[in-house]
C-alpha cells in the first residue's frame, strides 16, 4: 500500500467517521428518553447547586452511579438510564474517593450538611474531603439543596421524613433535658429499652470504644462527651450532651439502638453500615462509663455468657 498524504489524512478521517457513526451516533439515536420511576425535574435552586458541584470538582471524588455490586450509600437502587435524562453534563464520575451520591438526598438533615460542608472533619473526623467554608453560607445552602435532591422522588420522600422528625426533635430539645431524654427514649422500641449491655466492661473493650469514639463521634459529641464538638454551632438540635442521661433511665440497649439506627430528623447518623455489632456495644459502653458515669454492662438479664468471655 502506498502511503500518500491523501491516503493518510483522508483515510484516517473516513475510518473515524465510520466509527463515530457506530459507537457515538447509533447509541445517541437509540437513546432512552423515558423517565425512570424516580425521575422528576430539578428545581432552579437545585440546578444552581449543581453548578457549584461542577465548579468545585466534587465529581472527581464522588460517583453518581450505583452498580449491581454495591453495598454502601444508595445501594438500595441500581442506576437506570432514565434517571439521567436531564443531566447536562452527566456526572457519573470515575473515582470514589468519597461515597456514591446518587441517593444522597434525605440521608441526613440539612444541618448535618451545613456542618459537613463547612468542614467535613466536624461530622466525620477521618474524612479527607476538602472544607468548603470558603464558598460562603449562601453557596453552602444552595449546594445542600442540590445534595438533598439527589435521588429525585426517592430523595423527596426521605426529606419529608427528615422534616417530620426534625420538627419533633427540635420541640423536644427546646422542652429541656428532662423532656428531650424522655422523647428520645420513648421512640426506642421497648425491647431495646429494657435490655442491658450483655457484655462485661473490660479494659480492652473500653480502649476499642475510645478509638471508635475518636474516629466517628468526636466532631459532634466532643472529646469529653458534652456535645460541644466543632459541629455543634451548626446543628439543631445540637449533639447530645451525654452527661444529662445520668439517672434518666438510659440502658445499654438504648445506646446500642440509637447508634445503630441513628435519629432521623437530627444530625445523629446511623452507624449500622460502618460499625459491626461488637464495635457498637464497645462504643456505647465507652460513652456509658466515661461520660454518663453509669453502666449496666454485664447485669441481668444477660442470657448465656458469650463464649469468648474469660
Amino acid at each position: 500500500m502506498k502511503m500518500t498524504p491523501k491516503a493518510v489524512v483522508i483515510g484516517s478521517l473516513l475510518i473515524l467517521a465510520t466509527i463515530v457513526f457506530v459507537v457515538v451516533f447509533l447509541p445517541y439515536a437509540t437513546r432512552i428518553q423515558l423517565p425512570s420511576d424516580i425521575f422528576r425535574d430539578r428545581t432552579a435552586h437545585e440546578a444552581d447547586g449543581r453548578a457549584i458541584y461542577i465548579a468545585n470538582g466534587c465529581v472527581y471524588c464522588h460517583s453518581q452511579s450505583i452498580r449491581s455490586i454495591d453495598w454502601g450509600l444508595g445501594a438500595e437502587r441500581i442506576a437506570q438510564a432514565g434517571d439521567y435524562i436531564q443531566d447536562k453534563p452527566i456526572l457519573l464520575g470515575s473515582e470514589r474517593t468519597g461515597p456514591d451520591l446518587s441517593q444522597e438526598g434525605g440521608e441526613h438533615p440539612d444541618d448535618w450538611h451545613t456542618a459537613h460542608f463547612i468542614n467535613p472533619r466536624y461530622t466525620r473526623p477521618l474524612s479527607i474531603m476538602p472544607a468548603f467554608a470558603f464558598l460562603g453560607m449562601d453557596d453552602i445552602k444552595t449546594l445542600t439543596t442540590y445534595a438533598q435532591g439527589l435521588g429525585l422522588k426517592h430523595a423527596d420522600k426521605r426529606i419529608q421524613r427528615q422534616r417530620f422528625w426534625k420538627e419533633k426533635a427540635v420541640r423536644a430539645y427546646e422542652s429541656g433535658p428532662e423532656g428531650n431524654v424522655k422523647w428520645l427514649h420513648e421512640n426506642v422500641p421497648e425491647g431495646w429499652r429494657n435490655l442491658p449491655n450483655p457484655y462485661p466492661t473490660t479494659e480492652a473493650g473500653l480502649a476499642r470504644g475510645h478509638k471508635i469514639y475518636q474516629d466517628f463521634c468526636l466532631g459532634c459529641h466532643s472529646p469529653i462527651g458534652d456535645g460541644m464538638g466543632p459541629a455543634q454551632p451548626h446543628l439543631n438540635p445540637p449533639p447530645l450532651n451525654f452527661t444529662i442521661l445520668k439517672d434518666r433511665g438510659v440502658s445499654g440497649g438504648i445506646l446500642y439502638y440509637q447508634i445503630m439506627n441513628g435519629i432521623t430528623g437530627t444530625a445523629m447518623p446511623y452507624f449500622k453500615r460502618e460499625l459491626e455489632s461488637e464495635k457498637i456495644w464497645d462504643v456505647g459502653n465507652y460513652v456509658a462509663v466515661y461520660f454518663i458515669n453509669q453502666t449496666d454492662a454485664d447485669t441481668e438479664p444477660k442470657g448465656i455468657d458469650a463464649a469468648y468471655e474469660p
Binding site: P5, L13, V24, F134
Partner: protein, 456 residues
Amino acid sequence: MTTNATSALPTYMTAKGFCLTSGFWMMVATFMGLLGATELIAPDLTENIGWLVFGRVRPIHVNLVLFGFVTPGLLSSAFYYVPRLLRTELYSEKLGVITVLAWNFALVTVVVSLAMGYSQGREYAEMIWPIDMLIVLAFTLVFINLIMTVAQRKEPILYVSVWYVCAGIVLTAVTFSLGNVIWKPNSGSLVGIPDAILLWFYGHNVFGLLLTPLSAGVAYYVIPRACRAPLYSHTLSLFGFWSLLVVYTHIGTHHLLQVPVPTWLKVISIVDSVAMVIPVMAFLINIWYTAKGKLGEIHADIGAKFVFTGTIMYFFVSIQGSMMALPDVQRVTHFNNWVVAHAHVGVLGFAGMISLGGLYYILPRITGKPLYSRFLADFQYWLILIGVIGFTVVLTIVGLIQGNAWLNGETVYRILPEMHVYYVTRASIGLIIFSSAILGLYNILRSIFFNPGEIS
C-alpha cells in the same frame, strides 16, 4: 514557502519553543499533582483557599500533564523530525512560533479558568468554550504547518512517523471538537447517557489518537536512528498504523461497563479492548526487532534510552488495560486507585518517557551542541522510572484494598485510614517526580540558552 527555501540553516525555533513549553509545564503539572496528593493526606492544608481546593487542583494537573507536558514534548520532536524525514524545511517557523505562543496562552487560560471554578465538569473536557476554541485553533495551526511541509517535501516516500503525526493531529482536532461538544458553547455537553458515551469516546481517544500516535512517531524515528539499523518491517508499520486507528477508537465505552449503556456497545468495547494487543504488538515487535542486538547503542543514547523504556511501559499498560476491560476484573478495579496507577503507567511511563526521550534526542541536534548535562538527564531518567514503578505498586495496592473492601460491603469511610499510609508514600514519590521535572527544565534551559558545549 519562499522564505524558507532561501534561509540557510534551519533555526528549529518551533521545536525549541515546544521543548521549553514541555519542560516548563511539566514542572507546573507535577507540582499540581504533588499538591493534590498532599491534600489527600492533609485535607485542611489549603483550607479556605478556594482556588487550591482538591476538586480544582486535580483537573489542572491532568490537563497540564496531557496538553502542557506530554503533547508539546512530542510535538517538539515532530517539528524536528518531520522536515528531516522529508528532506525539506518546516513550512513556516514563523507560524510555528505563533503556534507555540498560542499554545502557551491557552495553557495559562486553562490554569486560570479552572482555578477560578470555570469548568464544564467533564473529565479531559473541562475547559470552557473559548479555551476549547483556542486549543482547536492551536491543533489546526500545527496541522497546517505539518501538512504544508509534507506538500513541499523533496522525499517522495512518507516515513511511518509522518503518518502517525499527521493522522494524530488531524484526528485529535476532530475528536476534541466532538468530545467537547463545541457546537453547544454554554454547556459543552450532551444530555444523559449519550453524554457519557461521547465523553469517553473522546476521553479514550486522547490516549489513542493523540498520545499514542505521537509517541509511536517519536519511537519510529529515534529507535532506528539510535541503532543505526533499518526498520524491521514496513508491513508491520502499515498494519500497526491502520489497526490502531480502527481498534482504539472503538473502546471508549470500557470506561462505562457498570453504567446503563447499551449492552452491544459494551460488548464491542470489551472485545476490541482485548483486540488492542494486535496494534500494540505490531508496533512493539517492529520497534523491538529493529533494536534486536543493539541495546548497547540504545543504552549509550539517553534519548533512545527514555524512548525504549517508554515502549516497555506501553507493553505493560496495554496488557493491563486489556485485562481491566474484562467485567470480572473491573468489579474490583473500577472507581478506585487501581485506575490511577494505570493512568500513570500510560501517561507518564509510556507517553511521558517517550516525550522526554524525544526531547533529549533532538536537543543536541537543534542546538548544534551536546546536551548541557547527560548526567542530569540520566538522573532524571532514574527518578522517573522509580517514580512510575513506585506509583504503580503503591496505587495498585490501594486500589486492591478499596475494591475488595467495597465488594465485601465495607463503606468508603471505613477504608480511609487504611489508605493513609499509602497516600503518604504516594505523595513522597510525587515529590521525586516533581524534583525530576525541575532538573529536566534546568537541563533544557541550559542546553538551549547557556550551553558552554562545543559545536558538534
